[in-house]
């Protein structure tokens, strides 16, 4: 659904406009994907349809703004407000909580693509410096390490899928990742050689 721009910036002074703004407030404060139930509770309605319609309207509104922020609709009727990926490198140093640097992100990419994967295999491929990466990724709740016999098997978590707006279904997620990696390699070959921290 597309909203005409003239409508967007004009205060509508209606209950619907007020609800839209409340949803924006909720998504800003939460900093994580919110499902329809939570969003509905914020605007004090039981109607998921009404909430979905408003949330989609907000997605569209953000899409039409030339902004650093975006609202995305994820699987299972969830919505999230976040910084557009292309701006992260320029402003990451301003985040109070340190963001993951390239090294751990590479390790995470590899795990996501090859999971479930024995820890020993990850270390073979990524080297011994990947041990602190695994600790960091586990602390952030992005991976789990499950002990099976003498080794540990690593998987990404549901939080990981949410964080990167990926499917919870493993097969589908890997397909999505493949697409992301391919487009990434096609358009930004130089960024893959970014120095690991």
């Amino acid at each position: 659904m597309t909203v005409r721009r003239s409508e967007l910036s004009e205060p509508r002074n209606s209950a619907a406009r007020q609800d839209l703004v409340l949803l924006e407030a909720a998504l800003y404060v939460a900093g994580r994907p919110l499902n329809l139930k939570t969003l509905a509770s914020v605007i004090k309605t039981r109607s998921k349809n009404k909430t979905r319609k408003l949330a989609k309207e907000l997605v569209e509104e953000y899409r039409n703004r030339d902004s650093a922020l975006e609202i995305l609709e994820l699987e299972d009727d969830r919505f999230v407000l976040q910084l557009k990926g292309e701006y992260t490198p320029r402003v990451r140093k301003l985040a109070l909580r340190p963001l993951l640097s390239v090294g751990p992100l590479r390790t995470l990419s590899y795990i996501a693509y090859r999971q479930p994967i024995p820890q020993s295999h990850v270390i073979d491929v990524r080297g011994h410096h990947a041990y602190p990466h695994l600790k960091q990724l586990e602390d952030l709740g992005l991976i789990t390490r499950e002990k099976t016999g003498r080794t540990k098997v690593i998987r990404t978590t549901e939080f990981f899928a949410d964080y990167f707006s990926l499917s919870h279904d493993l097969r589908a997620m890997k397909q999505q990742l493949k697409g992301i990696f391919e487009s990434f390699m096609k358009f930004e070959p130089s960024e893959t050689s970014e120095k690991e921290e």
């Binding site: 992260t88 963001l99 590479r106 990419s109």
Partner: protein, 233 residues
Amino acid sequence: MTAQVEKPFYFNPPWNILFELNRLRNIKPWDINISYLLNSFLQEMEKSGQIDFRASGMAVDSSSTIYLMKSKLLLKLEEAPTTPPKVKPEFLPPPLSLPFRYELTSTTLHHLLQVLDEVLKGERVFTVKPRVVPVLPPPSEILPPADVYMMEIEDHMGKLHRLLRRLTRESTPILFSKVVADLEKLEAIKTFIVLLFLAQKGDVALWQKPELDEIYITLAGGPAFDRPAVGIV
């Protein structure tokens, strides 16, 4: 008259190879039967009755050199082929770009002040405690002679210990607040210092829960605490 010195048998073939190692360069080690050479060398020496340990030593040394040459050749033959193994390079995906989401934190001024009260209570206890490790002060010319000072401390320690023994019959552990309940502030501080001396001597054990201002005292030999002492030992 000149005596003709006879050349020892081992300077003749086939044993001479053991005494002329420079010749080895031109001979293949595989052509030398070390076992035969050494055995026949010993037999010949026994037969002649001239036991020469220096010659024996040289023979053993040479044999080991020849043996080493053979071993090196063997090892060379066993070396793995030099062509590198073909390992298929694994696909290493590029790093995922992490979306940033600002998250409002839940801590408010209300929370900050909620915990302030606890800290200020703790402050009172610690400002009463002198900022010294409970060790005996070094003797000084300004202070009375050490033995008199010590005698007074001992005296106070004795009194406090008796008081604690009496209190421990009523309840264990003893609360420090109860010990100093009726005392002036200065007296309470003195009692606290004497208590530290008792603790240092091992007569009492002290412990304190984190963030609580109460100090718990047990007499040595009394019921022990399984919790470690915190703040004061």
